[in-house]
Structure formats: C-alpha cells, structure tokens
C-alpha cells in the first residue's frame, strides 16, 4: 500500500498519513495515505460505499458533525495537522472549501449567497470591496454574465447547473486554498456538467482541487491524478492517464472496465 504514495513531493498542499475513520464500531476507512498538490486536480473514484466521500469529508473535518465518527491518523494542511487542538475548525473550513453533491444555495439572494462567507470572516472592509469579491467570484465561477442583472433574485430560483456554479462561487469567495467537490455533477444534466468541468479546468492551479465522482469519463476528463477506492482502502493512486490505460492493480482494472461497481 505504501508504494501508492510514492508521488509525495515537497510542494504537496495537503497530505494524509494512515487515516482511519470509524463510525462507532464500523471502520469505514482503513488506513489511507495520499498527497494533494496545487497543480493537479485529484479525482476519487470507486464503487458506492467505498469510503471516498467519507475520506473527502475528513479533509475539512465535516465528519466532526457526526457524533459517532472518529478519525485516526494525520492529515496536514501546509504541514499543520488539521486535527490538532491548535487548528480552528471554522477557519479550516474556510481554507478548505466544499461543494456538495446536491446544489445547496442558501434561500437568500444570489449576492448574499456569495457575500455570506466574506461577511462572516470579515474579508471585505466595505461595501465596494464586498461587491468586488462577489463579482470576481461569480466571474471565476462562470456565472457572472448570466446573473449580473439579477443579483438580488433568490439563489434557489436558478437552474440546477447555475445553482451548483453559485455554490462554487460561494466556496471561492472566501479565497480557499483547497476545494473539495463531492460528486458535484451527479444532479446535473450533461450541458451543466460540461460547464462545471470546464470551470474545474479553469480553477486548476489557483486552488488544490479534489473531486469525488461516480463517472469515470468525468474523472478522466477533469483530473490529472486519480485515486481508486474500494472497501475503505485506497487501492491505487497515480496519474489519471496511467490509472485508466495501465492500472497496476487487478481491482482497478476490473472497476474501470466495468466488471463490477
């Protein structure tokens, strides 16, 4: 298993070492080690229930909200252990933003959706700067041209794809370092999906991006590195092109050729 983490490099943004997650007695993640860097989009693939979403949610401590969940092992962000007592979990979640499976804009205006994060973290000293942050975030999320004339409309009135891009704009408005995406396109139609994928390409390099997906074509299209999860373990982690054309592990080959999962 250890040789799967051979891609360790000095510039890794986040790294996990031997992470185990327990839900009560049940072990959901059985020792996963991985490095995530700024230059590559990392995709987690694997059959349902393999633990890829659970693992993703340990990276910004979203699992803390589940009382019975317990995490062992080290996860560091810029070398700092995110589970140490000196790490402020609220700040961590601002630095490691998240986009969820189902678009979940707040039932507020489009403007307030994007401005919410900067407001609570005090990132904009005045209205003009807040306006600028909102505009930049919406531009970067590829939504500005569609909504610039109706920023005060409710965010929930947008179409599904627009809502998901609004959620991405909301995540990047607080200027995070890492963005975690938990199956961001599973509720969207192909055109909206294509837009999100295009967006991921554009955001690459500026943020470290981790995306969980069920769709292997999507993983192949958007990611540079892919990790294959199965039954709570990370079976294989490597360059996306290698994983899809020349997997080292039998189980990876079986999965991507559609033999199970």
């Amino acid at each position: 298993m250890l040789d799967n983490t051979a891609t360790t490099s000095t510039k890794s943004k986040m790294s996990a070492r031997d992470v185990k997650v327990f839900y009560g007695e049940k072990q959901a993640i059985k020792g996963v080690s991985i490095d995530i860097d700024m230059d590559n989009v990392v995709a987690f693939i694997g059959p349902s229930g393999c633990g890829k979403s659970t693992f993703l949610r340990t990276l910004n401590r979203m699992n803390d909200t589940i009382p019975i969940a317990r995490v062992e092992g080290d996860i560091t962000l810029d070398g700092e252990n995110i589970y140490s007592s000196s790490m402020d979990v609220v700040q961590l979640r601002a630095r490691v933003g998240m986009v969820f499976q189902k678009p979940n804009p707040f039932p507020k205006s489009i403007y307030d959706n994007v401005a919410y994060g900067p407001r609570i973290h005090g990132l904009a000293p005045n209205k003009a700067e807040l306006d600028q942050i909102v505009e930049n975030s919406l531009v970067r999320a590829g939504l500005w041209n569609e909504v610039k004339d109706r920023l005060q409309d409710s965010g929930t009135a947008l179409s599904g794809g627009q809502q998901q891009r609004l959620c991405i704009a909301r995540a990047i408005a607080v200027d995070p370092e890492v963005i975690l995406m938990d199956e961001p396109c599973s509720a969207l139609d192909p055109i909206a999906t294509a837009k999100i994928e295009e967006l991921i390409h554009e955001l690459r390099g500026r943020y470290a991006i981790v995306i969980v997906t069920h769709n292997m074509q999507q993983a192949a299209r958007v990611s540079q590195k892919t990790a294959f999860f199965h039954l709570g373990t990370m079976v294989e982690y490597g360059d996306t092109s290698d994983i899809f054309t020349n997997p080292r592990e039998e189980r990876t080959r079986d999965y991507i050729t559609g033999r199970y999962g």
Binding site: A94, I120, H121
Partner: protein, 425 residues
Amino acid sequence: MSASNPPAATASRKTDWMGDAMQRRIARRYAAERRFKFFGLAAVAISSLFLAFLLVVMVGNGAKGFITTEATLTVDLPAATGSISPDQLTGPRLSATMASIDVRRIFDQAVQAQYGKDGARYFATTAWTALRDQLIDNPNLVMGKTRFWLPTSSDIDRAAKDRSTPEAEADYAVLTQKGDVRQSFNMQFLTGSDGTDPARVGIWGALKGSLITMVVTLFLAFPVGVLAAVYLEEYAPKNRFTDLIEVSINNLAAVPSIIFGLLGLAVFLQFLSMPRSAALVGGLTLALMTMPVIVIAARNAIKAVPPSIREAAMGVGASPVQVVFHHVLPLAIPGIMTGTIIGMARALGETAPLLMIGMRAFTTTPPDGLTDPATVLPVQIFLWSDEVNRGFVEKTSAAIIVLLVFLLSMNAIAVYLRNRFETRW
C-alpha cells in the same frame, strides 16, 4: 388458484385486465374513494356547523351587551349647588369644586322631581356615577340646566331589548311614550372595569389584564422556549440525560393547567412572596404552561431545516452559532411561530391556573402595572357567568365576543408575521 405451484401459474396466465373480477375491484376502489371523500366532507361540514352555531349564538346574545338603554334626566345644577363661578372651574381649583358637589344627592332630587317618589326604579343603582363622570368630562355643565342621558335599571334595559317583568314593561312603555328613553352604544362597556351593577360594568380592566399577562408570558416563554429548543437540537449530546429532559418536556406539555396554577401558587406566591392577583404572577404561571408547547414546536421546526443548508454554511466556515442564527432559525421561524400561536392562544383562554393565584379578585380599576391586582378575560367571563343579576347574562356573552376578537387579532398578527418571515424556496 393453484397454491401448489404459483410461479408457474403466474407465468402461464396473462392478467385479465378487462375481466369481471378486475372490474369489480375497480368499482370497489372507486366506491372507497367516494366514501372517504364523503366522510371528509361530512367532518368539515359538522365542524363548520358548530362554528357557525357558536358565532351566531354568541353574536346574537353578546351584541346586546354592547347596547345600553338610557333615560333622560333633567338636572338644574345651579339650583342644586348654588352658584358656581366660572373661575372656580379653572386650573387647580377645579378638582376641589367638583369634590364639593354631592352628585348623589343632586341625582336623587332630580329623579324625584322628574319622575315622582318612586322614580329611582327607572335608573340603575349606579346611574349617579354616570352623571358624575359626565360632569367630570365636561365641568361647564355645572353652570346650567341640562338634559342628561343616564343608564336605566337592568329590568327596563331588558324590557327594551327583549322581555322583562310586567312592571318594567309598563314603565318602559311610559318612558317610550314620552320620548324619555333611547338605546345607544355602550362606551362604558369598552372603557370600564368590573362592578356590581351590570349597567355600569366594563371589559377594559380584564382586557388590559389579559394584555399585560400575555406580554409577560410571551417575553418569558418565547425566548426561553426557543433557546431550549436550539440547545437541545443543535448542541446537546444525545445521551440518557437529554432523553430524560425530552420526555419531561413532552410530559409537561400534557399536564393539566390547574396543576400549573398550584405550582405558581407554591413557587411565586408562597416561596418568592410575589403579590397576589398580579398580572406578573399570572404571566409567569402561564409561561410555565406555554413553554413546553413552544419547545416542542420549535424543535420540530428546527429538525425540519434541511441538513444541506447546515452543511453549506459550515462549508464556508460558519461557526455553530452562526449556522444557527443565520440559517437554521430564519428557516425555522414560521414553524416556531405556529407553535407559539397555539401556545399563546391556549394561555389566553386559560382560567383554572389563574384562579389558583388569586386573579379572580374583584378589581374595579384597570391594572396600571405588572404588580397591580388584575383579572383576565376568561376569568372575568367566569365571574360574570356566576352572577345572580340577570343583567350580567348579556355582559358575559359580550365579554366572550371581546375575548374571541382578541384571540383572532392575536392570531392574525402572528399569521401576518409568519408569512413575512416565510422564505421562498
């Protein structure tokens, strides 16, 4: 049907959708639909009927309570009081002047002069206080001879509205013939307080008592109830202790209200030595009763907020308090309001616990503060319904109308607020 080999049977037989058995099943299904629809309609009709009956009876009886019968009385004040100069009616000297007038004696003399020796039977026993009030409202009347309209006795009042004793009917006929009687809107009923004479009682004292009590209840039960609900839903660990608290709250909501009265009596009056009959104590007692209702409703409303909103807020780095106050509570507010309306409506109509803490006191002046002796609308209705004097019957119904109007306006405000806070999805 061959029970021995069902798979083979179903495999070989095609379902006969047009067959008789199937048609009968369809007919039965439609019949069941129609039956259900009929029962539902019947239930709605029955409850509407009861509501209409209640309203018609109440309004029919109570409307008369808002009408008063008055007879004329000509009073020559300068003759009775000696001459009072205009400057005696100005500034600080006014109250001394008014106090020097013996209104009751003047009233008795005027009645005898106009209606003879037994003339007093035409008027309510406290009609002279109406004369006094009119003089206080308009002191210049002291300077001249004036024709006043004063409330009649309750027998004549009933003769005017419905039927009464033969003597009163005859008296009323005489008065009508001379044009000395009229019916008018009873302002006194809306501005006065409790009393012994039905012609002069009012609802304002009880209404104000109810208002103060409700304000105390709301300001205590709403924040405490909502905060308790938020803590239990969002912060409290799930263990045996919090389970116990949950069960206790649910049980508390089902405790008969008179028990809360005993609790208020023991805690607020005996132990904390708070004043008896006060709106403050009434409000506190009703708050104890309303709180569990609000807690339960608020917890359900908070539970109904989709977890995705919580996750979204946490995902951009909102702290738990920010998640609750920026996202969860705004979305839960309509549900919390609904629970609060139900709780407050129940508290407004509550009589039993307030009897326990002495709010059935006979209070002839409206309460001026939290600790003044007060009564509330339902208790006032209860007290009047117990009176011997027949004149109180219509006052009881009129008080019920006031209570219902109060209740409806309270609900209307709450519904309006709820709709304003409702978030469109």
